[in-house]
């Protein structure tokens, strides 16, 4: 007995094959030491040897660390309790006496909890690992303060301190990780060692610790890394799986400067060039085959995704819900490219440049993984200068690339990033591969020319869109409609003009809609009734909404991504939107009336355009038939028509030329139609 007592009092805490450099403080009773020795054995069994060897000699104390003798019942519902602490000066690990009391009940009798490590025994183990992680960090050159760690953990080097950017993170295993980079290191190490799902939920931090510690604590894990994200479009958030094998390329996107203050520097984004998978066409319900992996995927633009840290309505808004949200935190959104182009090129009349990034296959894969991780984990705070779309985008690049010079990049404007990336040869500014998606301004100028018969400049067209009178436009349109087309050529011009009126009116509608969104945003903040509904909407639009397990952290696992109530969420949203519309009609009666009138007029313009287009097509067929009959009467004409019948391209072109190219272009009548027509004669 004396020998056993001597061993317990004098020797370090051990486990099979590994030894923790810990000693109990002399005040700790023998009974407590014996109770805790099993816990420390478990800790020693879990921890990697390289970690244990790097620890200093540590003394263990038991104290009442917070103002309570027991672990509070509401510990998972905001209750406060300090499980343990580490004192770096005296190298002391202190455990809360209440936790030790719980441990005295034995492993089998420990309480379950709904948060963190799910039961108090594992919570005790994790507390010790957490505090030892502090000792490891402080004694080994503070790896937590190295960019390799803190960038992955969502921190950023400030002028003096390393600051947490992920201030509003909700999918966190333990909110304490947000306190500072040391706590972040300890919390994440604790989960790396104890949670077999950590690799799937926080892959980049898992890889960091795996490399650092030289081991994977759970090589037999069963979880599968999720590839799903929520793509935000006007219908809400829709789950979408990013299949890495279908990612052809990643581009840096630069949206040109807008006129508003917050868009004056442009906007930074990325494009993920996805190859279209096999899919159904909604209109025809036919199955369209997948695009083979390769440059052809660049044409699948309706499948491309945009990665954007977007803060509020003034940056590439896709729907007015965002306007109601107001100061939404900086989140990594995934958006359909078509939406983004529609917003910038069409609504805001801003160009977008796409610079292909020269990523290796491995870098591309890390980029996608990091995007998925940030999408679920990151909830920052958008600040115009220090934390904007450009700095966020640059941090993402810094986070994934290990190339020389990347860590030193310091641009804080979207254009600055282009320069930085060009300097590091990550993009080539003058490359032919750079695509520019041009603002629709020129199209509108052309439409104006067709509709009003006058060439105007960029400023004039913007003025027209924003300031022209609805009554004047209506009068002009009615006059136009009443004009008689005296020839086929007149009719063709009339078709283009009718379409042009519709295009201009649509642009005006969208400009008015944008204006109204702004007014709505202002109104929300001062109207209780709207505030309440917008709050509901925020909840309904929440990226976590509908996940089957909202208490989990990081990337949701496959099973948690089952948004079984997706339709219910959509329904709720529709209901809230209807409510808002209803209220708005009472707040903005005049605007509502104008919008409704424009909307009806656009419908009318659409019908009219389609009807005269049909008229033109029929008239063109009659004309062609007649001309062909005339041609048949001559030898040369017959010979030409015979060649046409044989689908001779030259003959078809010759026939078009003969009948008048202006009318007989392929848009008016196709080659096949001409052949059919001849055959019917």
């Amino acid at each position: 007995m004396k020998i056993i007592l001597f061993l317990i009092l004098s020797f370090p805490l051990w486990a099979v094959g590994q030894e923790l450099p810990l000693r109990f403080d002399e005040d700790v009773s023998l009974k407590t030491r014996m109770q805790l020795s099993f816990v420390f054995q478990d800790v020693a069994r879990i921890l990697p040897l390289s970690f244990i060897k790097a620890l200093p000699a540590i003394k263990i104390k038991i104290e009442r660390l917070s103002d309570t003798d027991s672990i509070p019942a509401d510990i998972c519902d905001g209750g406060s309790f300090i499980y343990g602490s580490y004192g770096p000066v005296l190298k002391t690990l202190t455990l809360h006496s209440a936790l030790v009391n719980e441990l005295a009940k034995g492993k089998e009798n420990m309480l379950s909890i709904k948060c963190q490590h799910k039961n108090l025994y594992d919570q005790s183990i994790s507390t010790i690992i957490h505090e030892l992680a502090h000792a490891y960090d402080l004694e080994n050159g503070k790896p937590s303060e190295e960019p390799d760690y803190f960038l992955k953990a969502g921190f950023k080097r400030g002028l003096v301190f390393i600051k947490n950017k992920n201030v509003s993170a909700s999918r966190t295993p333990d909110p304490y990780e947000k306190k500072n980079v040391f706590e972040s290191f300890a919390v994440n190490f604790e989960y790396f060692m104890m949670d077999d799902e950590f690799a799937c939920r926080r892959p980049s931090l898992f890889n960091y610790f795996k490399q650092k510690m030289g081991l994977d604590p759970f090589p037999q894990r069963s979880c599968v890394k999720g590839q799903k994200v929520l793509v935000t479009s006007e219908t809400g958030n829709n789950s979408y799986e990013i299949d890495f094998s279908r990612v052809y390329r990643v581009d840096y996107l630069l949206a040109g400067a807008g006129s508003a203050l917050e868009s004056g520097f442009g906007h930074s984004m990325f494009r993920i060039v996805m190859c279209a998978p096999e899919h159904k066409d909604i209109l025809s319900n036919k199955t369209i085959p997948a695009t083979p992996y390769g440059p052809e995927c660049l044409k699948d633009r309706s499948f491309h995704l945009v990665v954007s840290y977007r803060a509020n309505i003034n940056e590439a808004t896709l729907n007015y819900i965002k306007g109601i949200f107001g100061g939404y935190p900086s989140i990594l959104y995934l958006l359909p490219l078509a939406d983004v182009l529609d917003q910038y090129n069409h609504k805001e009349l801003r160009d977008i440049e796409a610079y292909p990034l020269r990523f290796t296959e491995a870098e591309k894969k890390i980029f996608i993984e990091k995007v998925i991780e940030e999408h679920w984990n990151y909830r920052g705070s958008y600040k115009f200068i220090t934390n904007n779309c450009a700095t966020e985008s640059l941090d993402l690049i810094k986070n994934i690339l290990k190339r020389p010079g990347v860590a030193e990049l310091g641009a804080f404007t979207p254009k600055g990033i282009v320069k930085d990336l060009n300097r590091l040869d990550l993009i080539e500014r003058e490359s032919k591969e750079v695509e520019v998606y041009v603002a629709k301004t020129e199209n509108l100028i052309e439409a104006y020319l067709y509709a009003y018969g006058k060439k105007i400049n960029k400023n004039d067209i913007i003025n027209f869109i924003n300031k022209s009178s609805s009554i004047d436009r209506f009068k002009k349109y009615e006059t136009f409609k009443s004009l008689k087309a005296h020839s086929l050529k007149d009719l063709r011009i009339k078709v283009s003009a009718a379409a042009s009126f519709a295009v201009l009116e649509q642009q005006i509608f969208e400009a008015k809609q944008h204006e109204m969104m702004k007014k709505i945003s202002e109104k929300v903040s001062e109207t209780d009734e709207l505030k309440k509904i917008s709050k509901d909407l925020i909840n309904e639009m929440d990226i976590d909404e509908g996940l089957s397990n909202t208490t989990s952290y990081g990337i949701p696992l496959e099973a948690e991504m089952i948004r079984s109530d997706e339709e219910a969420v959509q329904e709720l949203m529709s209901h809230s939107l209807l409510e808002i519309r209803h209220i708005l009609t009472s707040y903005f009666p005049q605007e509502t009336e104008v919008m409704e009138a424009i909307s009806k007029r656009i419908d009318d313009m659409r019908s009219y355009t389609l009807s005269i287009r049909k008229e033109f097509k029929e008239a063109l067929l009659d004309f062609t038939r007649l001309e062909m009959q005339k041609l048949k009467t001559t030898e040369a004409g017959r010979s030409l028509l015979l060649r046409v019948q044989e689908k001779d391209k030259k003959a078809l072109a010759e026939l078009r030329h003969l009948l008048g190219e202006e009318l007989m272009n392929t848009q008016g009548i196709s080659d096949n139609k001409m052949i059919q027509l001849y055959q019917s004669l």
Binding site: E234, L318, L337, R581, S599, I602
Partner: protein, 87 residues
Amino acid sequence: MAFTSTTFDFINVSSHTTFSPTASTLRHKEAAQVVMDVQEFMATGTLSIELEKKINDQLSLNESLSEEEALELLLSEAEMILSQVSK
């Protein structure tokens, strides 16, 4: 109730079916978008991304079609959908 137009909803109607879950309601929006895009093409000669993709899809299903014919096909499908809704 305001904004009952079949084509132009108060919320932006541009349809992006690739990422949208409920195809039934979007079919109508999709059709409206095709008409809008065709109108823009008629006015300016510029094809939108969506329309270009749809034309390519049609061509991949039927190689004998010309681009113009694919566009005609799309437009007539869209018109049919819109006329069904308005009935």
